[in-house]
């Protein structure tokens, strides 16, 4: 297992290099950082000084080397909007994003597991069709629209929850539902098809023919094996979770990483964009490794190779 862990951590390196290259090319080659950082009244001499200070007069490969060395040390430059180093600004937004993502994921699991199982057990009945219909609707509805409709209904009309911002539990409920429901929609369908596959297997038929209670067959025999795909599903959804967080945070003015990134993109605050992209990419890769480990713990048949 130690060997496996080292190997997967080493595999992060080429992916991160690729990301760094993409970010570097996009930012350095197509944009003009000097023009962005200086006021419009700047003279030609000011421009030349800043170009030299930023190392922009060096050949591209040297610039990339410097960019990479700085990035490894956590230095992505200074945000011109906040006048502070970019990385700490990004990191201080993480707890808010984690809070939202965790709440949404938990909600999605609580909704999707029972609905997915129920739908599979009652296959092709009214219940199945109904649940499938709801999950298709959840997939088709853009989550920013659902967020706005939830605000309209529960904040504006009923006045139960605050419209936006982060605070106690009341602030968390609407954003978590917005993000959680769209995750649950995909998850329900996947759990249903996994359960269907398991319910068709010989050992389930054997358990049933032994006269074991149906509840027990489903709960103990089928569901335990059904858990393995759930972990995979959660890891697959991780990227949609990040995308969804970006949008949900914008709808609810939730002070997380997503909102910071979107506003940085809109204002061309490239230092923040770079730092945020790196933090998210590292996080995604680490999560993938983690789910792989959980997967292996749940199913001992998988070898660390």
């Amino acid at each position: 297992m130690g060997k496996y862990l080292v190997k997967s951590l080493l595999q992060m390196i080429p992916v991160l290099l690729l990301i760094s290259l993409i970010v570097f090319i996009l930012v350095r080659v197509t944009g003009d950082p000097v023009a962005l950082m200086l006021p419009e009244s700047a003279t030609e001499a000011d421009r030349a000084t800043l170009t030299r200070e930023l190392g922009l007069d060096l050949p591209l490969y040297q610039q990339y080397g410097i960019f990479l060395t700085n990035a490894i040390q956590g230095d992505f430059g200074t945000s011109f909007r906040y006048g502070e180093s970019a990385l700490p600004l990004v990191l201080e937004r993480l707890p808010a994003s984690f809070e939202l993502a965790f709440a949404a994921m938990a909600l999605a699991v609580v909704i999707a597991i029972p609905l997915g199982i129920w739908s599979a057990v009652k296959r092709n009945t009214f219940i199945d069709v109904f649940i499938s219909g709801i999950s298709v609707l959840g997939k088709a509805m853009p989550n920013f629209w659902m967020g706005i409709m939830l605000i309209l209904l529960f904040s504006v009309m009923l006045g139960w929850f605050p419209v936006s911002g982060r605070g106690g539990l009341t602030h968390l409920i609407l954003p978590a539902i917005t993000l959680g429901v769209s995750l649950a929609a995909q998850m329900t369908r996947l759990i249903r098809s996994n359960m269907l596959e398991i319910l068709n297997q010989d050992y389930i038929r054997t358990a049933r023919s032994k006269g074991i209670f149906e509840m027990f067959v489903i709960g103990k025999h089928a569901f335990r094996n059904g858990l393995i795909p759930v972990v995979t599903i959660m890891s697959l959804q991780f990227t949609s979770l990040i995308g969804g967080t970006l949008i949900t945070e914008t709808v609810f003015a939730w002070p997380g990483l997503g909102q910071l990134l979107v506003s940085a993109v809109n204002t061309h605050d490239m230092a923040i964009v770079q730092a945020a992209v790196f933090v998210i990419a590292i996080f995604v890769i680490l999560m993938n490794i983690l789910t792989d480990l959980v997967y292996r713990l749940l199913d001992p048949r998988i070898k660390y190779s």
Binding site: I19, L26, T30, R123, A140, M141, F144, L152, S193, V262
Partner: protein
């Protein structure tokens, strides 16, 4: 797909038979009418396409005409509404119905355009990887793996931050970041087709690589390709709306449903209609595409249907 490969396997290289294709189409149409959701999906998609095509006839106003006196007018059937503005007006007094009508054009153009771009990139890379193998395969598939490790929306944000918004940029950016699923599916199909007798015999009689790929391999990959595209159009329409909502997608004079939602968000407390109708338009359109896509999958790829119960 199964029928065309079988017809090619027995004899010498035979491209997909036109007759079996026509029969398949007829059978498919009958199947479409039998599937309730499939029919519903087809009807919705057809209506949206017609609205997009006849937008100039259906719109009652110029979608970008600003009328400050008429700002935030409620829909016609509510108190204070006027028959002039069927679904009301937004914060600048623009007619919501006309904007939704024109927005359908953007949704469809971006949805289909981006899928064509990503399909083309994915098909070329997938065929190249599978057909030439070795290091070519390794390089392409590692690139695909790396792209999968980055959430697509993140990649798009970075690109759009630098390049700036716009419809054609959006089509290209969504297309260029979404090709991985195509490349994987096409590569897998080609790998298995490559070993089939009809491809081997084509090679034996001296057909060139280009001919084998275009005449014998690509037609057989088509059905997986179409199935994948159906699903991708739905996600692309949502993606466009999301990016436009974030202010990074479509810009004036083009109208996007996502952009309309972003305008309406600020007025949700007083004028619910500004954000409600464009969201309904997105949901209904995407629902139609999903239903039609599911039906396509059931018809073209029966294996998937079995798997999904």
């Amino acid at each position: 797909m199964a029928t065309s490969t079988e017809s090619g396997a027995g004899t010498l290289p035979v491209p997909p038979n036109k007759r079996t294709e026509a029969r398949g189409l007829k059978k498919g149409l009958r199947q479409l009418l039998r599937s309730k959701t499939g029919t519903l999906g087809a009807v919705i998609v057809l209506i949206v396409c017609l609205i997009a095509i006849f937008a100039p006839l259906l719109a009652t106003h110029d979608p970008n005409a600003v009328a400050p006196i008429d700002r935030l007018k409620p829909p016609a059937w509510l108190e204070g509404g006027s028959g002039d503005y069927l679904l009301g007006t937004d914060n600048l007094g623009r007619d919501i119905w006309s904007r939704i009508v024109y927005g359908s054009q953007v949704s469809l153009i971006v949805g289909i355009g981006a899928v064509l771009v990503s399909g083309a990139i994915g098909a070329v890379l997938g065929v190249t990887a599978a057909y030439y193998g070795r290091w070519v395969d390794a390089v392409i598939m590692r690139l695909a793996d790396s792209l999968l490790a980055i959430p697509t929306i993140l990649l798009m944000l970075v690109v759009l931050a630098v390049v700036g918004p716009g419809m054609w940029t959006l089509i290209f950016v969504i297309g260029a970041t979404n090709w991985v699923s195509y490349a994987r599916v096409v590569r897998g199909e080609v790998l298995s087709l490559k070993e089939r007798d009809f491809v081997k015999s084509a090679r034996m009689i001296g057909a060139r690589s280009g001919r084998i790929i275009f005449r014998h391999i690509l037609p057989n990959v088509m059905s997986s390709f179409i199935v994948l595209s159906g699903m991708n159009v739905a996600t692309t329409i949502i993606m466009e709306a999301s990016l436009s909502f974030l202010g990074l997608g479509i810009t004036t004079p083009d109208v996007s449903w996502g952009g309309m939602l972003s305008d309406g968000r600020q007025y949700v407390a007083t004028s619910w209609w500004v954000a409600t109708f464009p969201g309904m338009a997105i949901t209904i359109t995407v629902l139609g595409v999903i239903f039609l896509g599911d039906w396509l999958r059931d018809v073209l790829d029966p294996r998937m249907k079995l798997k999904n119960g």
